[in-house]
């Protein structure tokens, strides 16, 4: 035992300093990425490109948060889209009905999402695999149906109409396209950085252990249910942020945001980009949106094209794009060392 403990102590020290180093590196990368994205409007007047990146922010936050569940914890949620819709609707409704400043609505939406996610999560995370997937799907349909039937409050199937007011705060005017773009990028980068911290923290490694062997984690004294619930709520918060970006982009909220197809797109993105690397879903988001935007320009049979692409990834590569690249690099390094 003592030998084991000693051994662990030895390895822990470099790991900790390594983690700290990596953290600084992540912050640096985030800052550089934000600087590049934020300076983009200086070089191009293309509104379409900015629109594209705003949508990337919304879907990227959503898909990466889903990966916290799917990739890191092994919880394949089929109903993650409910929090995307919830974020869009809460934010839109608060802005329309209460007229509070945007940051207040933002925080309030996160609070509402946290409460609802905690309630739904408390029920769902007790279940495993297909049961978890289906119960999350059921909750999603419950929220979708509620939005549809509570027409006096949510506008029913026609959505939140009349536009979302965007009063100026701290000199930021989200009705201005460039301001909205920079705000979306900031949210994306902050969200990604926060999720990266979660993934690299001891808690993140606990999640990986739960994914690989929940029984073992339990025997080591980890409260598995609590850890799963925590990550469920955290992931919901980031999905809700994505929903808010989308609500600002379309200036409204529509029941389709809470429909299962959004969850499906999230899973599709994760399959495209890969779940074993942190940035996989982000790569998947860019790929899917690029594919979607270019294919729909030329044909209305985009379903066939997207289907073929997913078949290629599922049957051909058998993993997401970034997974494939990462494996290829690892393989090359190994063979290089062998020489």
């Amino acid at each position: 035992m003592t030998e084991l403990e000693a051994g662990r102590a030895e390895t822990l020290v470099p790991v900790r300093s390594g983690a700290a180093l990596q953290r600084y590196r992540d912050v640096l990368i985030a800052l550089v990425a934000f600087a590049v994205l934020a300076s983009l409007p200086l070089f191009t007047g293309s509104k379409a490109l900015l629109d594209f990146l705003i949508r990337c922010s919304a879907y990227g936050l959503f898909a990466t948060s889903l990966n916290l569940l799917v990739g890191y914890t092994g919880l394949t949620s089929f109903g993650h889209g409910m929090f995307f819709g919830l974020g869009a609707y809460s934010f839109g409704l608060i802005m329309q009905k209460l007229g509070v400043p945007i940051p207040v609505a933002f925080v309030a939406t996160l609070a509402i999402t946290a409460v609802i996610a905690a309630i739904i999560g408390a029920i769902c995370v007790r279940l495993k695999e297909i049961y978890f997937a289906f119960v999350t799907l059921a909750f999603q349909m419950l929220i979708h149906s509620t939005i549809l039937s509570w027409a006096s409050f949510t506008g029913g199937d026609q959505g939140l109409r009349g536009g979302i007011p965007r009063p100026v705060f701290l000199g930021i005017n989200l009705a201005n396209h460039v301001h909205l773009y920079i705000a979306s990028c900031a949210l994306l980068i902050l969200g990604l950085l926060a999720m990266r911290q979660i993934a690299q923290s001891p808690f993140g490694y606990t999640l990986r252990m739960i994914r690989d062997n929940a029984a073992r984690a339990s025997f080591l004294g980890i409260d598995v249910w609590r850890a799963k619930l925590t990550v469920f709520v955290l992931a919901a918060l980031f999905a809700s942020m994505g929903g808010m970006v989308m609500a600002l982009f379309v200036s409204g909220a529509y029941p389709e945001f809470a429909y299962w197809t959004i969850s499906g797109e999230g899973i599709f993105i994760n399959m495209l980009g890969g779940v074993s690397t942190f940035l996989g879903p982000m790569v998947g988001t860019v790929l899917l949106l690029l594919l979607n935007d270019t294919v729909t320009r030329f044909t209305e049979y985009h379903g066939i094209v997207l289907g073929v692409v997913i078949l290629f990834f599922a049957l051909g590569l058998r993993k997401g794009l970034l997974d494939f690249v990462a494996d290829w690099f690892a393989h090359r390094r190994e063979t290089g060392e062998g020489r």
Binding site: R161, S251, D293
Partner: protein
């Protein structure tokens, strides 16, 4: 540098990104270089369950645009339509609409979206200030609600409230004549179904006060099996049934209700029956179903309308839909407005469109009007008749009275707090 270090797929995606970037930067320039033609963008639904909405809208638009182009275009500029699929998703509709304006250089929008998508495109029009004509969304609130009102958006579509007023008064007449007091309703469970059915029964009871609704069914939109709905209605034994099911839902409902011989046991009022999409698909179209007109080439009974229906059929080998005449009318309005303004400037066109009356094959009196105060279409042919199993399907249509429609619509707007 990047290329040598990351060969393979990452090179491809870099190229794709660069390509997309170059396209989006270059496209507005290309558009400006061809400024002689005017591009009109059209987001609509071309895939999925209601793809026919988009395809029949597109057909009608192209039919009319070809005519306008042959006659010299809009104020001397040829029209180029850019029509894209939104898949019926509002966020896609918003994206496509923005892309059409910002990237493809479209100067106007024809919005061929239904329900939530039309509201999403409406917000884009509000944001970008681009001239926009809605051509498929029948939701009354799109133009009736003053919160929705923007100076650059118009709606060239029939409305649920108009249909309900005409349907209510027509049905009340028959209810009184035949003594139909016990009614049932069966409509799809979403905003359109609930609102339209509520309004229909409101006006039915207003014109025939002793009518009583004894059974209500709300099947889900796109429900495949209607057995339980049909048996529920049969058990309630009503004397008449109202339904605003449409398209494939209506045809499957009729096919399934036929098995129970439902149509011999009660008078049926199906507002969306008289549309070729439903009439030609039903296996055994029962005789005597009461229906509102959606599009039928025999109503209005003018040679212009019949000619238009035939021309459409000749070109596309199918009959037009309700969406077709609405889209065609939108192009007619835009062409007339451009002629009047002698310009293609969106603001000038919007000014001219307000209150504009044009000659139109689908008008109740040969003309239709874009009402000035709420930017919506009025004066179109609207009426009810009964079906026969073969062409012309609805031989006689009783036209609705627009004076009554205006009176009751004003009252309805007041009750909703819109005025």
């Amino acid at each position: 540098m990047t290329r040598t270090r990351m060969p393979g797929i990452s090179r491809r995606s870099t190229l794709a990104l660069m390509g997309a970037g170059a396209m989006s930067v270059a496209a507005p320039w290309v558009a400006r270089a061809q400024a002689k033609t005017i591009k009109i963008g059209m987001p609509t639904i071309l895939s999925g369950r209601v793809a026919q909405l988009g395809t029949s809208s597109r057909n009608a638009v192209m039919l009319e645009v070809d005519k306008v182009n042959a006659a010299g275009g809009l104020a001397g500029r040829q029209i180029e339509m850019v029509i894209r699929d939104s898949k019926g998703q509002p966020q896609e509709a918003a994206r496509v609409a923005r892309e059409l304006v910002n990237t493809d250089g479209c100067e106007w929008l024809i919005d061929g979206e239904a329900s939530s998508g039309s509201f999403a495109v409406h917000e884009v029009a509000r944001d970008l200030g681009v001239l926009c004509v809605h051509t498929c969304s029948e939701a009354s609130s799109l133009t009736a609600d003053p919160k929705q009102h923007i100076p650059n958006a118009f709606r060239c579509v029939r409305q649920g409230i108009h249909d309900s007023i005409v349907g209510g008064s027509y049905a009340a007449g028959i209810a009184k004549a035949k003594g139909l007091k016990k009614w049932a309703t069966c409509s799809p469970d979403y905003a359109y179904g609930r609102d339209t059915t509520g309004e229909f029964t409101l006006y039915l009871k207003r014109f025939a006060p002793d009518v009583e609704i004894i059974s209500e069914s709300w099947p889900k939109l796109f429900q495949p099996d209607y057995t339980e709905v049909v048996t529920k209605i049969l058990q309630a034994k009503p004397q008449a049934l109202y339904s605003c099911l449409w398209g494939g839902d209506l045809t499957s409902y009729i096919d399934q209700a036929n098995i129970y011989a439902m149509f011999g046991q009660m008078e049926v009022f199906a507002v969306n029956m008289a549309d070729y999409t439903a009439l030609t698909v039903v296996k055994n179209l029962p005789k005597g179903i009461h229906s509102g007109n959606r599009y039928i080439k025999t109503f209005p009974t003018t040679p212009e309308n019949a000619a238009w229906g035939d021309a459409y059929k000749a070109k596309y080998n199918e009959y037009p839909t309700n969406w077709s005449w609405q889209n065609a009318t939108a192009v007619m309005f835009l062409a007339e407005a451009a002629k009047k303004a002698n310009s293609t400037d969106g603001k000038k066109i919007a000014e001219v469109l307000k209150g504009l009356t044009i000659k139109c094959p689908f008008g109740a009196d040969g003309t239709v009007t874009m009402r000035g105060d709420d930017h919506t279409l009025v004066g179109y042919a609207i009426g009810w008749g009964t079906t026969i199993p073969q062409e012309p399907y609805v031989p006689e249509v009783k036209a609705g009275d627009w004076k009554t429609i205006f009176e009751l619509e004003a009252e309805w707007k007041k009750s909703k707090g819109y005025t």
